[in-house]
Structure formats: structure tokens, C-alpha cells
């Protein structure tokens, strides 16, 4: 083992992404549930589906952030 290899050894990988990445999760829910709800609104001619879609999406997003970052 060279001195450099010795220095490099023993560093564990970090699997959990840093907190900045929670941003991606926070956007996923509202987009993924809000967009279909909006399209459904357009198709059915209603106007009340998009709000619950976005809100439920937001809730699921928060849950996902907790699953990823809050559990350990």
C-alpha cells in the first residue's frame, strides 16, 4: 500500500443526498399529482380537482422527504 492509498482508504460512501436535494422531492409531488389533476379538470370541464391534487402531492412530498432524511 502506497502512502497515498493509505490516505484514501477507509472513507465510507455517503448515500443520503445533502439537504439541497430535498428540493427535488418537494417539487415532485405537486407536479406529479397536480398536473394530471389539472388535465382531468380540462377534460371534465371542472375546476376543483387541481387544488386537492397539488395539496395531496405536497403532503406526499413532505412524507417522502421525511422518509429520506428524517428517519435515520
Amino acid at each position: 500500500m502506497t502512502p497515498l492509498e493509505r490516505l484514501d482508504a477507509g472513507h465510507e460512501p455517503r448515500v443520503t443526498p445533502p439537504m439541497w436535494d430535498a428540493m427535488a422531492y418537494m417539487l415532485t409531488g405537486p407536479i406529479m399529482l397536480g398536473l394530471p389533476a389539472y388535465l382531468l379538470d380540462r377534460i371534465l370541464g371542472t375546476d376543483w380537482l387541481v387544488l386537492p391534487g397539488v395539496l395531496i402531492g405536497g403532503a406526499v412530498s413532505l412524507y417522502l422527504v421525511w422518509v429520506r432524511y428524517g428517519r435515520s
Binding site: H11, R14, V15, D21, M23, A24, Y25, L27, V60
Partner: protein
């Protein structure tokens, strides 16, 4: 939008002049040099080419005669390389795999850092990454790398199944599975590109506003406005220093997230 409002508020006192103050708009970022239509050669393309030229020449020249007791330039390059290799690569990807990805991470970091710093370096003063195409191109490279690294390491089936967190109540998976895949394949790369773009775009816009506003007040304004223009120029100075920090930080964050995505793709959580 608020920038436009602020701009028009600045222009109000001298609106009688006939021309008034033009607040900076996204239009200021479009600088065609030659050509037209889809094939226009623009200013950010030129700055990007310049950055690659500078980086290639400087990095080769400074490391060519590597010595045990380094020159100032070699020391600087070594610090930057050390920072990316150990601080980002080794700490994030881990001892076993980080060396393969170090060239990519170092290139990304230096390329983004220099291009960001161009935003405050005269006479270039244009952050290349404030044009959305450049962050998207860099993100595409990272996107392809981490998915391929993950698939090669784990095989497609295991790679896809490990994206889903374990040990949650069953009914919740119905909602979570599509969301997790959307996060991994669409939203994550999207936020990676948009974060860099948005920070550079907004920062440059602020500088433009303070400098153009200050200039307008100094040249076209009455005595009162001439005095207030000092404040505007001072703010431009403060924000230039602030931008330097943001520009470094964004290069760091982009590289760190790229490393994390790679680490996430090739390692299992359990």
C-alpha cells in the same frame, strides 16, 4: 416581474425626459455575435469556448513541471484538485470507487467555476450558465453517467428496485413508486440544471439593475438622483462580492450533487 416594477419606479422621477429608464430584462442575456436563427453564434458560446481554452492551457502549463516544492500556480491547482478529489469525491463516493469519477468531477467543477466567475471578471462579465442551455448540457452528462454507472454496477432490475425506500406501509407504495421514479428520472436533473441557471441568471440581473440604474441616475437624473446613484453603485459593488461567493458555491453544489447522485446510484442503502 418585481424587477420591472422596481425599474419603472426608478424611472418615474425623470419620465418627462421622453425616453425613461429601461429596466434590464431577459433580453439583455441574448447577445448574437454572428449568424442568425437557430444557428446564431452567441456571446455565451464565445465565453464558454474561452473558458475551455483558458482551463486547458492553464492546467497543462501549471502542472507540467510538477515539483515537490510547488510554484504558486501549481499550489493553487493542487488546492483546487485536492478540494474536489478529497472534499467532494472521496467523502461522497467513498474510498473504493471515487478515483474513476474524479476526472469528471474536477472538470465539472473547474468548468462551472470559471464560467460562473466570468460573471464578475471584466471585460467578459457574462456568466455563461445564465443561458439555460449550458446547465442542461452539463446536467445531461451527469445524468447519463450516474444512470449508466448504477446500471453497470447493479444491473437494471436491482438498480430500479433500489430507488424505492424499504419498510413503509404497503398501500403507500401505490403513491410513492411513481413519485420516486419521477424524482430520479425527471425532477432531480431538472432541479440540478435549474438551480445553477437560476442563481446565475438572477445574480447577473441584480448586478445589471444596480449598474444600469446607477448609470442612468448619474447621467440623466437631477442633482438628487445623481447623489442617490452613489447608493446604487455601492450596492453593485456589494453584490459583486456577494456574487463571487454564490458563483463559487453553485459550482461546489453542482459538483457535490453530481457526486452524490453517482454515489447513490452505485451504492445500496442497506
Amino acid at each position: 416581474m418585481s424587477l420591472t416594477l422596481l425599474g419603472s419606479a426608478l424611472a418615474l422621477p425623470t419620465a418627462g425626459d421622453g425616453e425613461g429608464f429601461h429596466a434590464p430584462s431577459p433580453q439583455e442575456f441574448y447577445w448574437p455575435i454572428f449568424g442568425s436563427g437557430d444557428w446564431t453564434f452567441t456571446r455565451p458560446m464565445a465565453t464558454f469556448a474561452i473558458s475551455i481554452l483558458i482551463l486547458s492551457v492553464a492546467l497543462v502549463a501549471l502542472t507540467k513541471k510538477a515539483a515537490i516544492v510547488p510554484s504558486k500556480g501549481q499550489w493553487l491547482v493542487e488546492q483546487a484538485y485536492d478540494f474536489v478529489r478529497n472534499g467532494i469525491g472521496r467523502d461522497t463516493i467513498g474510498s473504493k470507487d471515487f478515483l474513476r469519477f474524479t476526472p469528471l468531477l474536477f472538470s465539472l467543477f473547474m468548468c462551472i467555476l470559471l464560467n460562473n466567475l466570468f460573471g464578475i471578471i471584466p471585460p467578459i462579465q457574462y456568466p455563461t450558465m445564465s443561458r439555460i442551455g449550458f446547465p442542461i448540457a452539463l446536467t445531461l452528462i451527469v445524468y447519463v453517467v450516474y444512470h449508466i454507472a448504477g446500471i453497470r454496477k447493479k444491473g437494471p432490475v436491482r438498480y430500479l428496485s433500489e430507488m424505492i425506500p424499504r419498510g413503509l406501509p404497503k398501500p403507500i407504495y401505490l403513491l410513492i413508486i411513481p413519485l420516486e421514479y419521477a424524482t430520479y428520472f425527471i425532477i432531480r436533473p431538472l432541479t440540478l440544471a435549474l438551480r445553477l441557471f437560476g442563481n446565475m441568471f438572477a445574480g447577473h440581473m441584480l448586478l445589471l439593475l444596480f449598474i444600469m440604474g446607477g448609470e442612468y441616475m448619474l447621467i440623466h437624473g437631477g442633482i438628487g438622483l445623481k447623489i442617490t446613484s452613489i447608493g446604487s453603485f455601492l450596492m453593485a459593488l456589494v453584490f459583486t462580492a456577494f456574487e463571487a461567493l454564490i458563483e463559487f458555491l453553485q459550482a461546489y453544489i453542482f459538483t457535490l450533487l453530481a457526486a452524490t447522485y453517482i454515489s447513490d446510484a452505485i451504492h445500496s442503502e442497506h
